[in-house]
């Protein structure tokens, strides 16, 4: 069962880096950044080695490790990777070095800043590999704590309020989820996610909740729904699903931009991942029972967030709403796949298409959104912190390379074919349309509004006559190019050869779909 502990090693790498930085003391920004980048790149190499060794053809859990931890509570240290986890894991490994390289290192306590960034990465690695709920939850929370401090200590002018809102809302969601999962534990006696998935699929979980839980004042029949709602709340806040998203624009715009890259690029994926790993396998019947409401909320999320983005006058808030919109598409794919269908290869294919699309969309949105915020960070450094859409104009004249690369990222974000955003969106739409036609048709409006605000942004910032203030706006530096060019290159590569990612996940998703039930 236990081979070489590749995943433990991967998760430990950023923790070691964080400890080195924390105990090394403040030795200046450069040193802190270089150290952090070193550890992050090391983790990236380890993750790439894991991805290289990952066999996309088998559907078994790979690189498994299993050790007893708190046996009386059914808590194990159990990790491994399957089709659901491999892409978010790779994404986390990719984005942290990118964010360190592109984001601005703060002059105050840079070592603490980078230590927290690495700790955040450890939380991500842990959450995307854990197969035991308790263990998963520890890492889920572990990623929240550094994020809170990063926003609170190094954020913008509204940082205190934003950090508190962020922490309180996501934490409230987490508490709801924890309580719900404790109820599950009381009813079933296990925290093991693959085991719970089996119980959920057979309906034994709901029966156990009905018979074993005795909550005063709650009818036994509605216990499963209540527990489901608790887990849903925790995940919906994280993704976010409207109306649980109000922390997000504030947090994204107040956080240091390098941290926002990770919040939108990687942390938001934990929510989507949670849907696939926990909610869908454990509570299929409950999701189906409330599918109309969930699809309605998803469509609202997709359309209203794109519309709200049109009204923003600040680059960071606009991109924050754009993120909500893109993640809404992921949830659309997941909920559409839960639509009850007749048995048969056609419908299984549509479900697999939608879920493949979801996984691709997670990965691609992570890269593109992080890149866009990375460009915003570069603008901030040049403008002294100004990020209003009306503060600029004609920048393409003085910074053509900057405009070109950011333009490519913008088009990737609005789903231009040939760049990475397209295939994921297409697969989500393709699968979802067959399964939930009306909701998907309305959701396409999101594509239109996304194009509207992104192109308006490009126009305001880069086109038109050059604003006098920015005559000396420097183009991308060599160091910035070194960080951006590989990422933009990846956008092209994944857009032209989507098979690079699909071959890792498709067989696993086909297997996953088989277990979805009717």
């Amino acid at each position: 069962m236990n081979g070489f502990p590749a995943i433990t090693l991967l998760t430990a790498t950023p923790i070691v880096g964080a400890l080195v930085l924390a105990f090394g003391g403040d030795r200046g920004e450069r040193r802190a950044r270089a150290t952090a980048l070193g550890f992050a790149l090391l983790a990236l190499i380890e993750a790439l080695v894991i991805a290289w060794g990952f066999d996309g053809k088998t559907t078994a859990i790979q690189f498994p490790e299993r050790h007893a931890w708190i046996p009386t509570l059914g808590v194990e240290y159990r990790v491994g990777i399957d089709a659901l986890g491999i892409l978010p894991l790779l994404l986390s490994a990719l984005l942290v070095p990118f964010a360190i390289a592109v984001g601005t290192t703060p002059p105050e306590r840079p070592h603490a800043y980078h230590a927290l960034v690495l700790l955040l990465q450890a939380g991500l690695f842990g959450a995307f590999t854990a197969l035991n709920f308790f263990h998963w939850f520890v890492f889920w929370e572990l990623s929240l704590v550094p994020a809170y401090f990063l926003v609170k200590l190094w954020g913008g002018s509204e940082r205190r309020a934003a950090a508190t809102r962020f922490f309180v809302q996501t934490f409230a969601g987490s508490v709801a989820m924890l309580l719900a999962m404790q109820a599950v534990f009381v009813a079933t006696g296990t925290f093991d996610l693959p085991r719970l998935a089996e119980l959920g699929r057979s309906g034994a979980l709901a029966r156990a909740l009905e018979t074993r839980l005795h909550w005063p004042g709650v009818a036994p029949a509605s216990l499963a729904t209540l527990v489901f709602a608790g887990v849903l709340l925790g995940l919906a806040v994280k993704v976010p699903l409207m109306p649980f998203h109000t922390w997000l624009p504030d947090a994204y715009s107040s956080a240091p931009t390098g941290v926002t890259m990770l919040l939108t690029g990687a942390l938001s994926k934990m929510g989507v991942y949670g849907f696939l790993r926990i909610l869908v396998p454990l509570f299929p019947a409950q999701i189906r029972a409330s599918l109309g409401l969930l699809l309605g909320l998803v469509v609202l999320t997709i359309v209203a967030s794109a519309l709200a983005a049109c009204a923003q006058k600040d680059l960071k808030r606009m991109l924050a709403y754009s993120s909500v919109n893109h993640l809404g598409l992921c949830l659309l794919g997941i909920f559409a796949a839960m639509q009850p269908v007749a048995a048969g290869p056609t419908w299984a294919l549509e479900r697999a298409t939608a879920l493949d699309g979801v996984l691709l969309q997670m990965f691609n949105h992570g890269i593109v959104a992080a890149a866009l915020f990375g460009f915003v960070a570069a603008i901030e450094r040049r403008s002294g912190g100004l990020v209003g859409t009306h503060d600029f104009g004609g920048l393409r004249t003085v910074a053509p390379v900057f405009a070109g690369l950011m333009g490519i990222s913008v088009f990737a974000s609005l789903g231009l074919p040939g760049l990475n955003g397209f295939i994921g969106e297409f697969l989500v739409f393709k699968g979802s349309f067959a399964l939930a036609g009306a909701a998907t048709s309305v959701a396409t409006l999101g594509l239109l509004f996304t194009a509207m605000f992104l192109l308006t942004m490009l126009q305001r910032v880069f086109a038109g006559p050059l604003d006098e203030r920015w005559k000396t706006f420097p183009d991308l530096t060599r160091a910035e190019l070194a960080a951006f060019v590989p990422v933009v290159g990846l956008m092209f590569a994944l857009g032209i050869v989507p098979g690079l990612l699909l071959r890792l996940v498709d067989p696993g998703i086909v297997e996953f779909v088989k277990r979805l039930g009717p």
């Binding site: 309180v168 809302q169 409207m242 109306p243 649980f244 998203h245 109000t246 922390w247 209203a304 967030s305 519309l307 709200a308 049109c310 009204a311 923003q312 056609t346 299984a348 294919l349 549509e350 479900r351 697999a352 298409t353 493949d356 004609g394 393409r396 004249t397 231009l416 074919p417 040939g418 397209f422 297409f426 697969l427 739409f429 393709k430 349309f433 067959a434 998907t440 396409t444 594509l447 239109l448 509004f449 194009a451 509207m452 192109l455 308006t456 126009q459 880069f462 086109a463 038109g464 006559p465 050059l466 050869v497 989507p498 098979g499 699909l502 071959r503 498709d506 067989p507 998703i509 086909v510």
Partner: protein, 685 residues
């Protein structure tokens, strides 16, 4: 020869590689960039000719050459998603046209853009534009076609906004992208629906493709909301994309603004690429559009089917044809007139597709590409020669100053107006009018088409008059001059092609028509067995004659600098000049609605959802406050009172212990007395 399809990708790949290479070049590499762009497109032209030749051989069996080569692109849901390349008369004819016209436009650009600082970048974008269009033509998969379709949109966005420092150019670029994207939403839904319903997006796959009998039969049999056949619903959704891309009503608004780009870009957009894509799409999915339960005659062009989808195409086309021609009458900008004429001509193409089938519509598309490129490049030459002036009322008398431009422009003008016999435009338009005349459901499109033809002759004569014949009006830009050879040579070549194309397009020897319809065996048959050909021709000639004569008579007598219609019908003229207020209508409705919706969403976020969340927080705080009050006043108060009592008792007790022996002894004595008394009392009982 069977393997031609396998190498078809080379044709779009050539300009694509050129675009990629130019993207990496520096600004000063002007000559290598232009050479690379033109060279790659000329090579693509040669390759296209080879492909074209391959389609000329009569195929074994069906009599229709259709070669395709497919490959697995990626795997999803355990099944391979296949894409591929397709070569048939439709794509081969278009390939030759696009590469030929494109090459001439590229050459023309060398002269036209000679003084532009971003010359290198311009050729990169042009190459991307050509590559995307060529990819669209060779695609054997609707998704690949859609991808190239979007890339065409991107390239047009980049080129229309090429002079990005001009706010109008940047706005026009955005408008083009967004207006076409509105149509693309329908297109995308159509694609995913088609994919779901047929299980394939390959057009032709030896019987399993989505445009072949099996799939079509299934689509026709299934019905959706309102009893509509699925095939009709999907056709109409796909047509939404064509409406956006090909500037049909009501999404035409981006096309006139697109002339904010450099003139060669306008030529490319209006002739060879972009707008042609929509017409091509309809022709490509024609088997789907023509599918009806009564039995489908897939691929036959001579006798078009009558289906709901094709009726919609016809009506949209007919209305667009008249609308564009009407608005063009009152425009003063030389390029704007041509832009509206494109809208109008695209309407004719749609009408031709709807009433006569793909061969009729595509014939006009190919022929139109030549003379519209000629007209736009001619207009570019005029603008270049007049130092940037675009208002036709401030030109005049240019036929002496720019003889080559004048002669070639006149050829283009006559082809567009449909001058009889020697100009290709006449024959292709006649084919459309004839198809409309014999169209069973209604005669109105035919009448609209005739009105459009008269109007076209009218506004083109007006334009010719103002630009080349009217008395010379002094402009601040100095004396007009003829353009250099890089600009006039493409004009001459295009003019020659415009005339020569008339030969294979006549009904007497409808070779091109038969080729496009895939009936090579009918090479020498007269078209449509002659019914009504002469009548249609007579009507068409009459319309053109009326248009030209009225226009010439009106304008040759109007004083310089004024407009006859403006004087006669000022209100009508104003409405036409304002483009019938379509833009204003959209600004007042859709723009306002979108703006309102976005503000509402933002407001909802800040206040509504925010308030819900915050009020939850307030409730929590309220509960906390109640808890605090309870704690303070009930729990704590009791606790405090208890504490206070204890403390008071302690204080009182501590007063006893004041260190005075007498007091201790007194208390001791009192205690003993008390104990004795108690014991005595209890003892007596």
């Amino acid at each position: 020869m069977e393997r031609v399809a396998e190498f078809l990708w080379i044709i779009p790949a050539l300009p694509l590689l050129a675009a990629a290479a130019i993207a990496l070049m520096r600004r000063r590499h002007r000559r290598p960039a232009a050479t690379l762009a033109i060279g790659s497109l000329v090579l693509a032209f040669v390759a296209s000719c080879v492909a074209f030749a391959a389609t000329l051989r009569p195929a074994a069996g069906e009599g229709l050459v259709r070669l395709h080569h497919d490959f697995a692109w990626f795997e999803v849901g355990g099944a391979a998603f296949r894409a591929g390349w397709l070569l048939d008369p439709l794509s081969a004819g278009m390939l030759v046209m696009v590469t030929f016209v494109g090459s001439l436009i590229f050459v023309f650009s060398v002269g036209y853009m000679a003084h532009d600082a971003n010359f290198t970048r311009f050729f990169g974008f042009l190459s991307l534009f050509a590559a995307a269009m060529l990819g669209l033509l060779v695609a054997n998969n609707l998704l690949v076609l859609f991808m190239c379709w979007e890339l065409v949109g991107l390239a047009s966005y980049l080129l229309i906004g090429f002079w990005f420092s001009k706010p109008e150019a940047a706005t026009a670029a955005k408008k083009a992208f967004i207006a076409t994207r509105i149509g693309d939403l329908g297109f995308l839904i159509g694609i995913v629906w088609l994919h779901h319903a047929t299980g394939s997006l390959l057009f032709y796959d030896d019987g399993a493709g989505c445009l072949e009998q099996g799939a079509i039969a299934r689509l026709v049999a299934a019905t959706t909301v309102g009893g509509m056949a699925v095939s009709t619903a999907i056709s109409l959704l796909l047509f939404c994309g064509a409406i956006g891309k090909s500037g049909q009503l009501p999404l035409h608004v981006w096309l006139p603004d697109a002339m904010e780009g450099p003139t060669p870009v306008s030529a490319l957009i209006h002739a060879a690429t972009m707008v042609a894509a929509g017409v091509f799409l309809v022709a490509r999915v024609y088997p789907l559009m023509a599918a009806s339960p009564a039995g489908t005659d897939v691929g036959a062009g001579a006798h078009a089917a009558h289906t709901t989808a094709l009726a919609v195409v016809t009506w949209v086309g007919a209305l667009t044809a008249v609308f564009g021609a009407l608005v063009a009458v009152a425009q003063d900008d030389i390029k704007r007139i041509l832009a509206y004429s494109t809208i109008s001509q695209l309407g004719y193409m749609m009408m031709g597709l709807g009433t006569g089938g793909p061969a009729v519509g595509m014939l006009h598309l190919v022929v139109h590409a030549f003379f519209k490129a000629l007209l736009f490049l001619g207009a570019g030459s005029v603008i270049h020669g007049c130092g940037g002036e675009q208002d036709i009322r401030r030109m005049g008398g240019l036929r002496r100053a720019m003889p080559v431009t004048f002669a070639t422009y006149a050829v283009g003008m006559m082809a567009l107006s449909g001058f009889p016999l020697v100009f290709s435009g006449f024959w292709s338009k006649d084919a459309i009018l004839h198809a409309a005349m014999v169209w069973e459901p209604s005669r109105i499109p035919f009448v609209l088409g005739l009105c459009g033809a008269a109007l076209t002759a009218f506004y083109m004569t007006r334009q010719m008059w103002f630009v080349f014949f009217a008395p010379r009006v002094g402009t601040p830009h100095g004396e007009p001059h003829e353009s250099p050879g890089t600009m006039t040579v493409p004009l001459v070549v295009l003019a020659a092609a415009t005339v020569l194309l008339a030969v294979p397009a006549t009904p007497a020897w409808p070779w091109f028509h038969a080729y496009l319809a895939g009936h090579l065996d009918e090479l020498h048959a007269g078209w449509n067995a002659g019914a009504g050909v002469v009548a249609a021709m007579a009507w068409s000639i009459l319309a053109v004659a009326v248009g030209v004569a009225v226009s010439w008579r009106l304008y040759s007598r109007t004083p310089a600098g004024t407009d006859a219609i403006e004087i006669a019908l000022p209100r009508v003229f104003r409405a036409l000049r304002a483009r019938l207020y379509v833009d204003e209508f959209y600004a007042a409705t859709f723009h306002r609605l979108a703006r309102w919706a976005s503000l509402a969403s933002d407001w909802a976020d800040r206040f509504f959802w925010g308030t819900i969340v915050d009020s939850t927080a307030w409730i929590a705080r309220g509960v906390a406050w109640v808890g605090r009050v309870f704690d303070n006043d009930a729990v704590d108060a009791g606790f405090d009172a208890g504490c206070e009592g204890t403390r008071g008792a302690g204080k009182w007790a501590s007063r006893i212990q004041n260190g005075q022996t007498q007091r201790y002894l007194r208390l001791l004595a009192a205690g003993i007395v008390a104990i004795v008394a108690v014991l005595a009392w209890s003892g007596t009982r």
